[in-house]
């Protein structure tokens, strides 16, 4: 059981991810904007932040940078993004995210990867260290 923050401005997608994560017995909190997400993160205690990169105001890239700047490897940050153009993936990774999910997500794939990320936390922390540094 982990604590996950979902920052997503689209209500339906927010609900989908919440449902999926809750079905996996994780504790889920949601934020609609980057600012809101940032405020919640200050509260601390999240194992994973799932970030939509397209957010009004403070966007996913900026937020990911802030989180990584303050919390480093303490919080895993994954992008859940509909960005599918050339170079988007690179941009996401450069902002400090540990990895990303492409929208539309496949729930089977999503579950597998979330389990990997949260289940084998120890292992993943080391394996994603490089990405976090970059």
């Amino acid at each position: 059981m982990a604590k996950v923050l979902v920052v997503e401005d689209n209500l339906a997608n927010q609900r989908l991810v919440r449902l999926l994560l809750e079905s996996m017995q994780h504790e889920v909190e949601c934020a609609f904007t980057g600012e809101e997400g940032w405020a919640r993160i200050q509260g601390g205690g999240y194992d994973l932040v799932l970030l939509d990169m397209h957010l009004p105001g403070l966007d996913g890239f900026q937020l990911a940078r802030r989180i990584k700047a303050i919390h480093g490897q303490g919080v895993k940050v994954y992008a859940v993004t509909a960005l599918a153009m050339e170079g988007d993936q690179q941009k996401v990774m450069e902002s400090g995210c540990d990895g990303y999910f492409s929208k539309p997500i496949s729930i089977r794939d999503f579950r597998t990867r979330i389990s990997e990320i949260l289940g084998g936390g120890e292992q993943l922390t080391t394996s994603t260290k490089g990405a976090g540094d970059g």
Binding site: L16, L19, H54, A82, L83, A84, M85, E86, P104
Partner: protein
Amino acid sequence: MIHRGYFSNMLGRLVLLAGIPSIVLPALFILDEYRTGERHLKESARQIQTNLVQNSKEGLLTGQVDHYLLPLANSALLNPEVAGVVFSDADGRPLLCVARGRDQAVKKAMESFTGDKSQPEGRASLLGERYFFVTGPVKAWKMPRAEQLFGLESKRTETTLGTVTLFVTPEMLMATLRARLYQSLFLVCLFLLLASVAALLIARRVTSPVEELIEAFRQLEGGNFTPSLSEPREAEILLLVHQFRQTAMRIRDLIKEKDSYSAQVLATAQELEDLNDNLEQKIAERTQSLQNANEMLELSNRKIQEADRLKSEFLANMSHELRTPLNAVIGFSELLLEKVPGPVTPDQEQCLQDILNAGKHLLALINEILDLSKVEAGKMPLSFTTLGVDALLDDMQNLFKPLFAKKKQQLLTTSQDPRASVYTDQHKLRQILINLLSNANKFSPERSRIWLDVGDRSDHHIFRVRDEGIGIPADQLGTVFEAFRQVDGTMSRTQEGTGLGLTLCKKFTEILGGVLAVQSALDKGTTFTLYLPKDPSKALDETYIEEAENGESACS
């Protein structure tokens, strides 16, 4: 003046040349005349003396000087040459001396002149005057009268009665000769004078036109082409003057010609300069207009780039904006199908499956549209690697096994050379093959066979996907690769497909340098053949492939 000096010199020499003979010749004549005259003088002196000798016998015998000898002497003196006559007696004493003139000194000199008795004649110089003398004895037979009378000549003896000496003077001759000499000298001088004058005149007739010509040449040099030239009388000079005039005219014409050429050249140069200026101006104008055009071009280029950027941005936005709701559609459908929120009825499950399929279809469309636009913008990244044909075929078998199994279809893969490999962008190749095999699966009936054959040619690979499906009508074969064209309107509803699959296959084939061809017979099946070059930089073209194929079929 040099020229005049030259002519004078020449004339002087000519006059001298003419003067020498005109002096020498008369001198020779005069000398000759002198000799002749002297000879004549001597002869006449001898004759006169002989006459005197013959006629003086009486006087000498008788001694009657005045009666016989004086008239004799006076008659002798009638000859103008005779200067004097001296009669001497047998002892040499002068009996009578008659001399021309009244000069007693001359008379005395003649009287006392004895001369050389051995010389009967000779020259005598008396008181500085030259004379010629002839002397001779006057002889007579001395015998008694009786004997004379009887002619007893044997007894007679010759006796000298005296001598007669005659003096003749060459004065007359000399005077004549002198006169002749003076005359000659006068004539020579006159001749030389006349000759000099004539020469001078002639020289002047030559030199003055020559000088005029010189002056004319000077003027010609100064630019006067028609200097005044008097008409000379000498034919040659006249010719020279005429020639000069002609030459001057010719020079003037040449100069005129040259000037006109120069003018032309100047005009041409000016023209050229003008043209140059004009050209420069034109170049400047053209440059300006080119710059303008360039600016316009840059502007439109920027606009195009901007449009391109906007298009890319639009596509990115569209993709993003479509994916976001699709995420919910697909995700919730899957979630519901997995019965996470709760149980669903079979009907609901079917509905959910349809929603999921529609969502996935839409997603495929979005992806294909993005791919197409990337290919068309030339922004599709390619990554060439070597791919084993066998591995590829295995891969396809594994991938399509479940799908084909659903329709109980059979996928038959063959390879001409199992160890062959393909150097290409394998992702694109796989996409093409997946698309073609999906189509074959879709458009073929259950329990039919589908073939994937890989062939190897000298410079290209052949991937052939053959089915026993519904086929494509001949009239629609040509448009099969066009976007959103699916054979038969009704078919599109029963058969899934984005309508972009074959278009994308064609585009991918093109960027890989290959050719994608289709053959089909209605209700018998369709064959798609992909030709890929072994060297991706050497793109194949359809004509080449057609020829290669025809050759192939002709051989087999």
